[in-house]
């Protein structure tokens, strides 16, 4: 690039930031930017003024340092400087800008200084700040961009401004929307009702008898929620691992004829909202469920609420998460090298001895991994405990009631959130250790001939006896879940009807065209809209992060990878609570908006996109990127013309995952929805809590249909990658 071109590129970010300070309102507007009424008040209103006006004539002097940094950066960009010197100066200006920006945003809130020591230091402040709006956001982004472009000029990130910008964007967004909210939980846990910082409070909150009591063991009353959560999670982990192992053994080591049907099981939990199984259990075992009715009719046993409590949640989680364990274990069982088993048999061990002394021990790390997956799924689960838990409280529901219930105790919610986070991270690190170091890697690069040894007869009979009835019951439950939507009143009137669907999804012809009069339409369209916005952004951010992590070398790469992995382990309930704490006051005041829900979707689901993208990208030869670079392809062009076309399958995968997860998630968004932005899942949960099962079931089925349609649409839209024959360029002569 020429010196002039370099100057022009360096000027772009400061110019953008300064333009935002002149042309956009700094603070968030009540009515948004749509009405354009703000344009007339840019220079004379405290609410919708631009930064220049606010700083110079409206008493907001604290905005001036940020503006000054932007100015300094613009001047640096224009001066005739050597490349490296310009880079250093730009990076310094940008960093100073970020510091000034963050300091004023955190230091000054709705009521002047945000902390007492600031008031003590500087005296009372005459002025206040609202949440950051368009102008502030653009100026902040510009400061980050200036740092990135400065570092790139100095030769960091391969000297590529785009890569530098992308790294800065990914890091900044993860810090802002994952790290910062979680940090806020920590702070909240120490604060009392007035917002004062009381260190002893956390200890007090965490040691509350309601959390840790063991009364249930002594026969008096209930145990603490922490024990409940752990006990349920351990049971769920053991149960799903055992069932998953039985399925995996049948699928890989027997001649069972319907193996392929078993694999369908693994798809079900992905496209069903997490509480559908719980709902089906109520239809079968609930007060007016089939079992109770039969017992009453046959033996005159009065209906019980037996299903509500530990046993109900446990059953529901077992049904819901066994497919996940199956998915994990099928890889583990296939990974045991048949050669080792054959070797064992040639050493005079019979099938049973081979199975118990060679195969099972080799699977141990995999079994531990499956257990921890079940454990983590269980403690993060919100839908089933809220639907079936009854008096059996676990951490995720307890947090929910602390925030939305009559208690309204944010400090307690934060402390419980921390506890849940600690459990999840503990299990996560344990799992990483087991998967990372403890596994006996039995899949090697060498060709592995040999046939998998069939299961010994006894083991096969056990596996079949456990797994097949279970599979049948799972199928039956899904069947009942569907039936529940097409009968009049479950338990009383089994007349077939479509009235629930009509109630939910009625469309009428009115004077002004169609009227979406069904009760579910509002939440349905909100869900579709928000998920459709979030899915592409999730995929984009995930793949961008994956590309950076796989293809670029930069300081802090390992830390960034770890951060994305970590955010995956944070339970949804914790994220939801954290978002409420972090984003309901300035500087980022977005609670109650659609934006916060979309952000929550994106940052909840991005880590999976990152993993998928990294896996796909490591199969694409790095020299293709480099070839593009030496052929004048700048980084964004390389991404667009070389990497993305080759990544189509991963794009489809993360789009589908982003959409489906956005539609089915409950735990995180249950804190974020409002009457205006109600989501399908939260709407259904409320119907279930109110006992309106017909509508809930009908709606769930509609959601499953929606997701199937969406999956097909995404497949069609993105298409396949065109590779000719799927042959790498390195495979030598094949004329």
């Amino acid at each position: 690039m020429t010196r002039a071109g370099e100057r022009g590129a360096a000027l772009a970010w400061p110019a953008l930031g300064l333009a935002a300070c002149v042309l956009l309102p700094w603070y968030a507007l009540q009515d948004g930017l749509g009405s354009l009424g703000w344009a007339r008040e840019l220079w004379n209103s405290e609410e919708s003024g631009a930064a220049f006006a606010l700083g110079l004539s409206l008493g907001r002097w604290w905005l001036l340092p940020t503006i000054a940094c932007l100015f300094a950066a613009a001047i640096t960009a224009l001066l005739p400087l050597p490349r490296a010197r310009r880079g250093t100066l730009l990076a310094l200006c940008g960093a100073a800008g970020i510091a000034c920006f963050v300091a004023q945003a955190l230091g000054i809130g709705l009521r002047g200084w945000t902390a007492d020591w600031l008031t003590g230091l500087f005296g009372e402040l005459d002025g206040r700040q609202f949440g950051i709006g368009a102008g502030g956001a653009v100026a902040g982004i510009a400061c980050v961009g200036i740092v990135a472009s400065g570092l790139a000029l100095r030769g960091a990130f391969g000297g590529d401004a785009f890569v530098a910008g992308a790294v800065a964007a990914v890091i900044a967004s993860i810090v802002l929307f994952t790290a910062w909210p979680i940090l806020r939980i920590l702070v909240q846990a120490f604060q009392n009702g007035d917002g004062a910082f009381v260190p002893s409070l956390l200890l007090e909150r965490l040691s509350a008898p309601k959390i840790w009591t063991l009364r249930c063991l002594l026969g008096g009353g209930r145990c603490g929620v922490a024990w409940n959560t752990l006990f349920l999670a351990v049971c769920c982990g053991v149960g799903t691992t055992a069932l998953g192992l039985a399925f995996a053994l049948i699928a890989t080591r027997t001649g069972f004829r319907y193996k392929r049907t078993l694999r369908v099981l693994t798809v079900l939990p992905i496209i069903t909202p997490p509480f559908v199984i719980g709902l089906a259990l109520i239809l079968v075992f609930g007060r007016s469920g089939l079992v109770n009715q039969f017992l009453e009719w046959a033996f005159a046993v009065p209906p019980t609420r037996w299903i509500y409590g530990f046993q109900g949640v446990f059953l529901a989680q077992l049904f819901a998460f066994t497919p996940v364990a199956f998915l994990v274990l099928i890889g583990v069982v296939e990974g045991v090298s048949p050669t080792l088993e054959e070797a064992s048999q040639t050493l005079r061990a019979d099938r049973w001895a081979t199975f118990t002394t060679v195969s099972l021990p080799l699977m141990k790390p995999g079994l531990a991994n499956a257990f921890l997956v079940g454990f983590i799924e269980s403690i993060a689960d919100f839908g089933n405990p809220i639907v079936l838990g009854g008096d059996y409280r676990v951490l995720s529901t307890e947090i929910y009631f602390a925030v939305v219930g009559a208690q309204l105790d944010y400090g307690r919610a934060a402390a419980l959130g921390l506890l849940l986070l600690a459990f999840a991270l503990g299990a996560f690190f344990l799992q990483r250790r087991i998967v990372g170091t403890g596994s006996y890697a039995t899949i090697s690069g060498k060709g592995d001939a040999g046939l998998p040894t069939p299961l010994p007869a006894a083991a096969r009979r056990v596996a079949m006896a456990v797994a097949l009835p279970w599979a049948a019951i799972t199928a039956l439950l899904y069947g009942f879940a569907f039936l529940g939507g097409v009968v009049k009143v479950w338990g009383r009137d089994y007349t077939l009807t479509l009235e629930h669907y009509v109630k939910a999804f009625a469309v009428e012809h009115g004077a002004n065209g169609l009227i979406w009069s069904g009760a579910a339409w509002h939440s349905f369209w909100t869900t579709v809209k928000l998920a459709a916005v979030a899915a592409p952004l999730t995929a984009l951010l995930g793949l961008l992060a994956a590309w950076l992590l796989v293809r670029q070398r930069f300081a802090g790469r390992a830390a960034l990878e770890f951060a994305t992995m970590l955010s995956f382990a944070v339970p949804g309930t914790v994220i939801g609570v954290a978002y409420v704490f972090a984003f309901n006051v300035p500087p980022l005041e977005i609670t109650g908006s659609a934006l916060i829900i979309v952000l929550c979707f994106i940052f909840r689901n991005m880590p999976v996109g990152v993993r998928a993208g990294m896996a796909a990208m490591s199969q694409i030869d790095r020299s293709l990127d480099e070839a593009s670079a030496t052929l004048r392809g700048r980084a964004p062009q390389t991404l667009a013309f070389v990497v993305l076309p080759l990544l189509r399958p991963a794009i489809v995968g993360s789009l589908i995952y982003g959409f489906v997860r956005a539609v089915t998630t409950v735990s995180a968004v249950v804190f974020l929805v409002t009457a205006e932005y109600e989501l399908a899942t939260t709407y259904i949960i409320l119907r279930v809590i109110n006992g309106d099962y017909g509508l809930a079931v009908a709606y769930s089925c509609a959601l499953i249909a929606l997701m199937l349609v969406a999956i097909l649409a995404i497949q069609l839209a993105v298409g396949d990658r065109r590779l000719g024959r799927r042959a790498g360029p390195t495979q030598g002569a094949r004329a």
Partner: protein
């Protein structure tokens, strides 16, 4: 279109963490010449090439292309292009799209890019293959596409990273000749990386031999072969036998080296005496049946193998076991045979004295 330009390295260092892959390298590549970076694997030659390309940025030092400091400039903005070892043809594009890629990214209109790409393909003898997919081409053809793709940009420097290593021996010889012909007819500046000493000698104006991240010697192919500066070079540039002899000055820029029973006068820029290390080129030694007082080094055949074009002998002598190549294949000398080895001055190279 840009003029072919020179490349200069000034004390360039490349570190990965604590490990230095290249340790303080300085050299010059003149415009319009073909210079080869040669060395064993892990010697830093590919890293050096990638630093010219801008795919790696130097940790220290200065890199200039066409007299301009490009040390902190990334690959896209340097006026260089590169032919990769794996060819790196984009598998989702046709041959023509591959060759057009760089032209289109440089902002050249579609028609013009297409015209120049076809021209480039014709230059490498692939006219008519435009619509094929890379996977439908043979290895040699893929190689030509990769060359055409780099060539059509008329870069000021063209880089080759072991371009022939995926081809069989016959095709390799043909391709290296084609690359040399193209380079000379177009007057290109080319930097070429290989670990094959013969390939390097065949194509290069100059060879830079690297070892352990540093430059071992820099010179014309003849310089390096006939006057290797270090024992490493004597070993690496062709076969050679290390041996220890006793030197005494003869004056006139020559010294006499005694090797066992033989004494031979060799050229030496410096006057040395006493014990010296020499490298003996196997193809310069004449093997004769033993006769008294031949003035040769006496020895006994330990191993003899017939490899078609010549005989290879292992011969035990008083200065150690020597590997010798003999063009006479009609009457091979049997193992155990007593022989005289007649040395030639050009085949005995003083390497550390």
């Amino acid at each position: 279109m840009t003029q072919p330009a020179g490349v200069e390295f000034h004390n360039v260092v490349k570190r990965y963490g604590d490990v230095a892959a290249v340790t303080g390298v300085s050299f010059r590549v003149d415009a319009g010449t073909l210079v080869t970076l040669l060395g064993p694997s892990g010697c830093g030659k590919t890293t050096t090439l990638r630093m010219i390309a801008g795919l790696e940025l130097a940790s220290e030092g200065r890199i200039e292309i066409a007299g301009r400091d490009v040390t902190a400039v990334g690959a896209t903005q340097r006026d260089v292009s590169m032919v990769f070892q794996s060819y790196a043809l984009f598998p989702h594009m046709s041959v023509l799209e591959n060759v057009c890629y760089g032209l289109r990214r440089s902002g050249i209109a579609r028609e013009e890019a297409g015209r120049r790409a076809r021209e480039g393909l014709a230059q490498v003898g692939l006219a008519g293959y435009e619509e094929r997919q890379p996977s439908e081409l043979s290895g040699g053809q893929q190689q030509r596409v990769a060359v055409a793709r780099a060539l059509v940009l008329r870069p000021s420097v063209l880089l080759f990273d072991e371009p022939l290593s995926n081809l069989d021996a016959r095709l390799r010889r043909q391709m290296r000749q084609e690359i040399r012909t193209l380079q000379q007819s177009l007057g290109l500046t080319v930097v070429y990386v290989t670990h094959d000493q013969q390939e390097a000698m065949a194509v290069s104006d100059r060879i830079i031999v690297m070892n352990k991240g540093a430059i071992e010697q820099d010179g014309t192919p003849r310089d390096l072969y006939e006057r290797p500066a270090t024992p490493f070079l004597a070993r690496f540039m062709g076969e050679s036998n290390p041996a220890t002899g006793i030197a005494r000055p003869l004056g006139n820029g020559r010294i006499a080296v005694r090797l066992g029973e033989a004494e031979i006068a060799v050229a030496s820029p410096r006057v040395v005496s006493g014990s010296v290390t020499v490298a003996i080129r196997p193809e310069t030694v004449r093997v004769e049946s033993r006769v008294p007082n031949s003035g040769g080094l006496t020895g006994r055949v330990e191993a003899a193998s017939y490899v078609g074009t010549h005989m290879e002998y292992g011969i035990a002598t008083t200065v150690g076991s020597l590997f010798v190549v003999c063009p006479r294949v009609e009457r091979p000398l049997p193992v155990g045979h007593e022989v005289d080895l007649l040395l030639e001055p050009r085949g005995v190279i003083l390497v550390d004295g």
